[in-house]
């Protein structure tokens, strides 16, 4: 059977067939519309419309206990920058993002380079590596409580056994930086598998003879990593950074479980939740949502512009 000829033949027959003048008076084809309608309804009704609501109502006073809604211009935004807990949550979120993006990207590159060449057991290692990505962030918070805990935690036990500290230490709630660092490590645990896979996919495209050529020129090991691996992995690294930026700027589950409402480490998303669903001040919540969305998109675009380079072999 000549599958190569048949389609061409069929196309000629249908366009020139009887009763169907070329390109005109076709019956309306409703099937594709029927197929995409559910998707379109969901996207418009439960994504674009709500996003529009956030965009508009950020400039309104919307308080469940204080109707009706009234236009107040930038008042929600002004109010937000006068509120100390919200301002400090912005600083916290910036810390989360910086720590999370740097750690998950560096670890992702290290793990991807480890997995770059085939070796026995690599498939098993990838299966293990992916685990933290697949688990709920909330439960990961509970898992890591067992490591950070000041009374029974694994880290304290190991540090004391090794005589690195004399007595059990408080990590969560010790001070701003340490608290945020230990909470963010839990999120990094969840983010790193995807970063690794993204960088690894980029590394797999690098032709092996590039490394051979470099070796002949006397550039191997570290030099080859800096001159070949890193630049050619840029598309993968850029996507990895973007996913980490989006996740860390919107961090909620890990600080919520590990730290509760304590303002030492509260993120902007936590404040958004508290403001909207405990104080029932939706207008302020909308303004915070809009702010974090705009910042997320701007930072993501900046990363793409700075880090992404398309690579051709």
């Amino acid at each position: 059977m000549s599958t190569g000829v048949q389609p061409a033949l069929r196309r000629t027959m249908t366009t020139r067939g009887p009763g169907r003048p070329p390109g005109r008076a076709r019956r309306f084809d409703w099937l594709p519309y029927a197929l995409v309608t559910p998707l379109v309804v969901f996207i418009i009704g439960l994504a674009l419309f709500p996003a529009g609501v956030t965009l508009v109502e950020a400039f309104f006073r919307v308080q469940a206990l204080n109707p009706p809604d009234t236009f107040t211009g930038f008042e929600n935004f002004v109010h937000m920058f006068r509120d100390d807990t919200i301002v400090s949550s912005m600083a916290n979120t910036a810390y989360y993002a910086v720590i999370g993006v740097v750690l998950s990207t560096v670890l992702g590159i290290v793990m991807a380079v480890t997995l770059q060449r085939p070796f026995r057991g690599r498939a098993v290692l990838i299966a293990v590596l992916i685990l933290p990505w697949a688990l709920p962030g909330v439960v990961e918070g509970i898992i890591w409580t067992g490591i950070w805990d000041s009374n029974t935690g694994l880290l304290n036990s190991v540090l004391t056994s090794l005589h690195l500290v004399n007595h059990y230490q408080v990590f969560l709630g010790r001070n701003h930086l340490v608290t945020i660092l230990v909470i963010e490590i839990v999120q990094v645990w969840q983010l790193t598998p995807l970063s690794t896979l993204l960088v690894l996919a980029a590394l797999q495209n690098i032709p092996g003879d590039l490394y051979e050529a470099a070796q002949i020129d006397g550039a191997s090991g570290w030099k080859a990593f800096i001159r070949i691996t890193l630049p050619l992995a840029r598309p993968g690294i850029a996507v990895a950074i973007v996913q980490a930026v989006v996740a860390t700027l919107n961090v909620f589950d890990q600080p919520y479980v590990l730290n509760g409402a304590a303002s030492t480490g509260a993120s902007v998303m936590e404040q958004t939740y508290f403001v909207s669903f405990q104080n029932l001040d939706f207008g302020e919540g909308y303004a915070l949502s809009l702010l974090i969305t705009v910042v997320t998109i701007i930072v993501s675009l900046a990363v793409v512009k700075l880090v992404y380079r398309s690579v051709k072999y």
Binding site: Q6, P7, L31, L46, V113, T114, V139, S157, S161, L290
Partner: protein
């Protein structure tokens, strides 16, 4: 010429320790009594492994056990329903986008994809208010609708890429034989797209299982609270024994962990298809 990474053994050891130590630790804690968990230094291996924490969750009549059991049922219902609906709707739309030409095709396709660029939580408050207006707070329907709307764009994108990569020849042969386009979809395209469909289903299911903030807002009692929300509520009380919390945690990670290990090939393929644009 061997060009292997000289520090590979170190890297391998790091990946294994980094991933497995926390998982081992929660499992080990769940197999100890609360007194054993409080030992200093910790018991690195459970001295007398016991399933008593799991039996408490399985058979106990206290409110902790009841809430874990009911919320496990809830999370299974919500994940299964949203996975099935997402995959079916995404497959239909992906087929239309990949194989049919129609007015508005590009606009619809790219606006669906564009919603992936929005952080999920940007629509949290409006979605809550919509569901509350429709009387769908504290219902499975409300939660599933929100999940499906969140997962559809990525699912459609993965399946669109997969279907576009399939050879046209078989479908055309089917059409020559007189099959309708829906018959071609059902008998030719879907069977060929099976690996893509499995990837999409797994990624959707795992994302649904991991949800926390949306169900936290959309459900306020045990009628619909998924396991993640129930566990966080128990952790917030600070009175639940840590060994029992750990057992609940192991229950909550068992399903996604098994899926991730057994079906990881599909996950890796699906993720890479979905995120490298």
């Amino acid at each position: 010429m061997a060009r292997r990474f000289p520090l590979r053994p170190l890297g391998v050891a790091f990946i294994l320790l980094w991933t497995l130590v926390p998982l081992y630790w929660v499992l080990s804690t769940s197999l100890q009594t609360d007194a054993q968990v409080s030992a200093k230094p910790s018991n690195y291996i459970p001295p007398t492994p016991t399933l008593s924490n799991y039996l408490t969750l399985l058979r106990g009549s206290g409110d902790i056990a009841t809430s874990i059991r009911q919320s496990t049922v809830n999370i299974c219902v919500e994940c299964a329903a949203s996975t099935v609906i997402t995959v079916v709707l995404a497959a239909l739309a992906a087929y239309a986008f990949a194989r049919m030409r129609f007015r508005g095709r590009r606009v619809l396709f790219y606006s669906a994809l564009a919603t992936m660029a929005l952080p999920a939580y940007s629509t949290l408050i409006p979605l809550y208010r919509i569901m509350s207006t429709l009387g769908l707070v504290n219902t499975y329907t409300g939660i599933v609708l929100v999940y499906v709307s969140g997962f559809l764009p990525l699912a459609t994108w993965i399946l669109y890429n997969y279907m576009s990569s399939l050879p046209m020849a078989l479908e055309e042969a089917g059409q020559v034989d007189g099959a309708s386009r829906m018959q071609v979809l059902w008998h030719v395209v879907l069977p060929l797209a099976r690996p893509g469909i499995v990837s999409t289903a797994i990624i959707t299911f795992l994302s649904a299982w991991a949800q926390f903030l949306f169900p936290l807002v959309l459900s306020s009692d045990l009628s619909t609270e998924p396991l993640t929300v129930a566990i966080a509520a128990l952790a917030g009380r600070h009175t639940v024994p840590y060994s029992l919390m750990s057992a609940a945690g192991v229950v909550a990670i068992a399903v996604p962990a098994v899926i991730a290990v057994v079906l990881n090939r599909y996950i890796v393929n699906g993720l890479l298809a979905g995120s490298v644009k």
